[in-house]
């Protein structure tokens, strides 16, 4: 049996397949907690969790916040707009100040890749990466694989097509790592400017014909066009993107009948996905939100464990 030995969750790249599976197994038990009348357990009673969101986010922050609350931790939300980072304080000083408040876990979202790794080097507490630049978004990949495993009973051998803006997507990178480690076949598709061939080195298939890329997919994971991260124009316009790469009803008609449609949100209806498809029976977009809460509870629980020692009855 594997045991969880990590104090931080910084990325998927460094996790083993067994560690990923352990998070998913643990999350299954926490999902059941959310379905009870009393949705709270005392596992992290007395712990302090700080949401350090230097880059704005609502859904991920709320999901982590609720996860911490349901584990009975105390949670403080810290956003860049209202903070001293605006007054010129460095990230290191901000993190040290939060630690001086005896924070046990710092959940960080930052526009710079590697920011969570950086603060984990000098903090005594645990650090969780809630998205760092275009690098990784580990809990998103964990909740995506959890959703796939729950719906398809396995991950190994499935064909997963990730469609959209791959270049600027930390969700894509974390998903590629997780899916490859668990044995899925990953295909990437999107405009050539946003899906460079270099991704083949991560063990993926890169395709530019959307019909072909989704024809045999068990899962289509749609990514939003990251306007905010694109430094120059990568394609002529949103309507052109929709006509070439959007998941339309016509395109969906030529996919497997049991294909699952996933999206990390927020969705842009009518851009990367037809409005009706987002609400159809094959879409698991809202299940992903529910599962995200369970996965984040599992992560906070696992990293809060102490050092290896025999467990006594």
């Amino acid at each position: 049996m594997t045991t969880w030995q990590r104090k931080h969750l910084l990325d998927i790249e460094s996790l083993s397949a067994d560690e990923i599976t352990m998070v998913l197994d643990t999350a299954r038990a926490f999902k059941a907690v959310g379905e009870r009348a009393i949705k709270k357990v005392p596992a992290l009673r007395g712990k302090t969790v700080i949401n350090l969101f230097v880059e704005p986010s609502t859904r991920t922050r709320i999901s982590f916040e609720l996860a911490a609350i349901r584990l009975s931790a105390d949670v403080i939300n810290f956003s860049a707009e209202a903070s001293s980072l605006r007054k010129g304080e460095t990230l290191k000083d901000t993190a040290r100040n939060l630690e001086a408040l005896n924070a046990d876990i710092i959940i960080i979202r930052h526009s710079a890749a590697g920011a969570p790794h950086f603060i984990s080097r000098f903090l005594r507490g645990s650090v969780v990466n809630a998205g760092d630049g275009a690098h990784e978004h580990p809990t998103q990949a964990l909740l995506d694989t959890f959703t796939i495993r729950e719906r398809k009973a396995r991950v190994a051998g499935l064909n997963v097509t990730i469609l959209g803006d791959i270049l600027y997507s930390r969700v894509a990178r974390s998903n590629i790592w997780a899916l490859n480690k668990l044995g899925a076949n990953v295909t990437l598709c999107g405009p050539a400017t946003l899906v460079p061939r270099v991704f083949e080195q991560m063990g993926c298939r890169v395709m530019y014909d959307v019909e072909e890329a989704i024809a045999n997919a068990d899962i289509i994971n749609l990514l939003r066009i990251q306007h905010e991260r694109q430094r120059k124009t990568m394609f002529p316009g949103l309507s052109e993107y929709t006509s070439l790469f959007g998941l339309t009803k016509a395109r969906l008609a030529h996919t497997r009948p049991d294909v699952l449609i996933m999206h990390p949100g927020p969705i842009n209806r009518g851009v990367e996905i037809d409005s009706e498809i987002a609400d159809c029976g094959r879409s698991v977009i809202l299940e992903q939100v529910t599962n995200g809460l369970a996965v984040r509870m599992a992560v906070l629980f696992l990293i809060s464990g102490g050092k290896a020692q025999e467990i006594t009855a």
Binding site: M1, T3, W4, Q5, M22, D25, T26, R28, A29, F30, A32, V33, R36, A37, I38, K40, V41, P42, A43, L44, R45, L71, A298, F301, L302, I303, S304, G305, G306, K307, A308, Q309, I311, T312, A313
Partner: protein, 179 residues
Amino acid sequence: MVMSQKVVLLSPPAVQRVLTRIAHEIAEKNEDDADLVLVGIQRGGVFLARRLELMLASVMNRPIPVGALDVSMHRDDLDNHVAPEVHPTNIPIDITGKTVVLVDDVLFSGRTTRAAMDALNDFGRPRRIQLAVLIDRGHRELPIKADFVGKNVPTALMERIEVQLKEAGGTDVVYLEKA
């Protein structure tokens, strides 16, 4: 390395006899109780609860609901150990007003039992909770006492009790391992 010495506390037939006796004691104590529920504590207790249910059903002439409870989210010592493997919790019926018999393999510090009682409260308010254990090895850290005990075994703190059950692959046997 120190050689450890294993002593058999309960042989396979002894495990069976002890469980049969516990089943009869549970039936005797709860004779008139129409609302009996067995809840096994993950993992060993779950196997034992299912076996007790089979025996109880024939003694009491009716099926008894059986649940499974994982207490790792309710323990108070996450800081001291690596995070444990979490197993499913499944309480099949509303336990409010019922007599719940918690079933565990080994009673030691009592902390697991305390966590189990806390966890049960999240599912409802039982009328009473009783505790059945295969082995009571002493060293309680909380004021907790079992209602039904398979075997009392005075132990030293450093000794280990190892319970093997056939459901987990193998045979029914209980060892005392001396350090």
